[in-house]
């Protein structure tokens, strides 16, 4: 199967059938699937955003003075947009692939392997969208309470930004899903990649690297672009160049990651 066919599978009905399957399970288990995972960023927001705000002076964000809770609100949206699809494509996809043999069952039908991979990518991104919606709702409530100061209408854009970036994060995670020998080995992509990336991407604190190489790396980092695009919209009503940066960095990560994930998954699941 060519690279174009592997990438084109994103639009195929087969990928949407896999997405639908995961969505049905989610709806079936919504009580446990929605609230607890979405509470994590909310608790972070309460702990760091509200908790630290009293101890941190206002920050200057592109000429606008904002309190720390406002800064963290956008960061938590980026953190959720990264973490939800990344961990969904790591753990939940691994369970479906390895323990539940769900993929084996699906592959015994008309559905082809690239569509299974795309179904998982689309689903993980959609989950990110759901969780970002919950976080955005909480941020909106705190805005009404005067704790943060954001442009409320732009909160509606956050789930869609998260969905786009989530495609890249999920495809990247599926590379590890395809190669880790056991679920315990997920600690590597979680603690060595997931956590550092979610912390150093202008989520909880601003980083402005001076070295040109680091600057380029930052521009290529979709978590950073997501955080800055979200912050630009919520604080200024203008994402600046970060919207383009987000789309570019997403594509740069999504395309090779998906092709590699398809290849590695084929090797693992089909022995080919």
């Amino acid at each position: 199967m060519s690279a174009a066919e592997s990438l084109g599978a994103a639009w195929h009905w087969q990928s949407w059938a896999v997405l639908r399957r995961n969505a049905l399970v989610f709806v079936r288990n919504w009580k446990t699937a929605v609230v607890p995972p979405a509470m994590e960023p909310v608790i972070f927001f309460l702990a760091f955003g509200i908790g630290f705000s009293g101890y941190i002076e206002n920050l200057d964000y592109q000429g606008v003075s904002i309190n720390y809770a406002t800064y963290v609100a956008a960061g938590l949206i980026a953190y959720t947009g990264f973490g939800t699809p990344y961990y969904e494509a790591l753990y939940a996809a691994y369970v479906r692939m390895f323990y539940q043999k769900t993929w084996d069952g699906i592959l015994a039908t008309q559905v082809e392997l690239p569509s299974v991979v795309w179904g998982e990518i689309l689903w993980a991104s959609l989950r990110g969208m759901v969780n970002i919606s919950i976080v955005s709702l909480v941020v909106g409530v705190f805005d009404l309470l005067g704790v943060v100061d954001v442009r409320l209408p732009f909160l509606l854009c956050m789930p869609f930004l998260g969905f786009v970036a989530g495609l890249a994060f999920a495809s990247f995670a599926l590379i590890f899903t395809a190669i880790v020998p056991g679920i315990d080995h997920m600690n590597y992509p979680v603690f060595l990649i997931g956590w550092p990336l979610s912390l150093v991407s202008n989520t909880f604190f601003p980083i402005d690297p001076s070295h040109p190489v680091l600057r380029v790396l930052w521009q290529l980092n979709p978590v950073y672009q997501l955080a800055e695009a979200a912050r630009g919209l919520l604080v200024l009503g203008d994402p600046g160049s970060h919207l383009v940066g987000l789309l570019g960095s997403t594509l740069l990560l999504l395309i090779p990651s998906t092709l590699l994930a398809v290849r590695l998954t084929r090797k693992r699941v089909l022995g080919e």
Partner: protein
């Protein structure tokens, strides 16, 4: 004459430098069961995986109803039902939802899926468990659900990979009845099994694979006759002249001599049997027709002798 619904020619699969399936031809007809036999590692599962599109062959062609599988992959996959030996049920759904969700993986869509699911639940005696999780099902009923799921889209060809492995005798008989009924409905079935009685009873034709190659094919009794001869002499372990008889038969060129719990089983020709009776008058032995167990043991031992 009916055309084959499945026709494979020259199927070859190599992994690294090793040829796992070597220039294999097979055909399967509507309303017929093709039994695919061979010892472990013979290449049965790889053959199946090529036939239902899990792995591409290095050489050879596969046609379903005359259409090339690789040129019309999506359309021809619609004609295939696959029941793998592993339990790949979707435990996130109930029994009936398993059938519905599986139906959603096919295009063109299944007409009236609710009616089809109800029909299958009824036919496979799964209706009482329709709203239960598959976790509550016994091994036999899990297998029923796996088979029912694999035909939810009304395929023309069904692949059954060791469908009764792990089932108790009663559940095995039930599975046989279901397989026989599906054959009567006109479904072409490709079956792999380790149970020789199952292969003999269910298969209209057999294909015996050994080290990836076709070593015999045809009707079950023809296949056995071609490979083993007319009779099997069984010499009990307490026969005092057992070793001498064994040596005598080997001296006459008897192949596939097997020892099972001290009992010697030797496939022999009619002439050898007459000569044996004359040479060892008064010795105790039994004579029976050869069966697939003899063939399987013979092939396995032969394989064990290979480096």
């Amino acid at each position: 004459m009916t055309s084959p619904i499945l026709e494979a020619k020259g199927l070859t699969k190599r992994y690294g430098g090793r040829t796992v399936v070597d220039d294999l031809d097979l055909e399967c007809y509507p309303g017929a069961v093709l039994g695919l036999l061979g010892p472990n590692g013979a290449g049965k599962t790889t053959t199946l995986r090529m036939l239902y599109g899990f792995v591409p062959p290095n050489a050879g062609s596969i046609r379903y109803a005359g259409r090339d599988f690789f040129e019309h992959r999506t359309e021809t996959k619609r004609m295939i039902g696959v029941c793998t030996q592993d339990d790949s049920l979707d435990y996130d759904f109930t029994v009936s939802q398993n059938l519905f969700i599986y139906a959603s993986y096919f295009r063109p869509r299944i007409e009236d899926p609710a009616a089809r699911v109800a029909e299958l639940l009824d036919r496979f005696a799964l209706a009482p468990y329709a709203d239960e999780s598959p976790h509550v099902l016994s091994g036999g009923f899990v297998r029923r659900l796996l088979i029912a799921r694999s035909i939810v889209h009304r395929p023309d060809v069904l692949f059954l990979d060791e469908p009764t492995t792990g089932l108790d005798p009663s559940a095995r008989l039930d599975a046989w009845e279901l397989i026989d009924a599906m054959r009567s409905d006109g479904l072409a079935i490709v079956l792999t099994t380790h149970y020789m009685d199952e292969a003999e009873r269910l298969s209209d034709r057999l294909l015996v694979i050994h080290e990836g190659r076709d070593v015999a094919h045809g009707r079950p009794h023809e296949v056995i006759g071609d490979l083993l001869g007319d009779h099997v002499v069984v010499i009990p372990r307490d026969e005092p002249r057992r070793d001498r008889i064994d040596a005598w038969l080997r001296g006459r060129g008897a192949e596939h001599v097997a020892s099972v719990l001290g009992e010697v089983r030797v496939p022999v020709s009619k002439d050898d049997l007459v000569a044996l009776s004359a040479e060892f008058e008064g010795a105790t032995w039994q004579v029976r027709p050869p069966n697939l167990d003899d063939l399987f043991i013979a092939l396995s031992r032969q394989q064990g002798k290979q480096p």
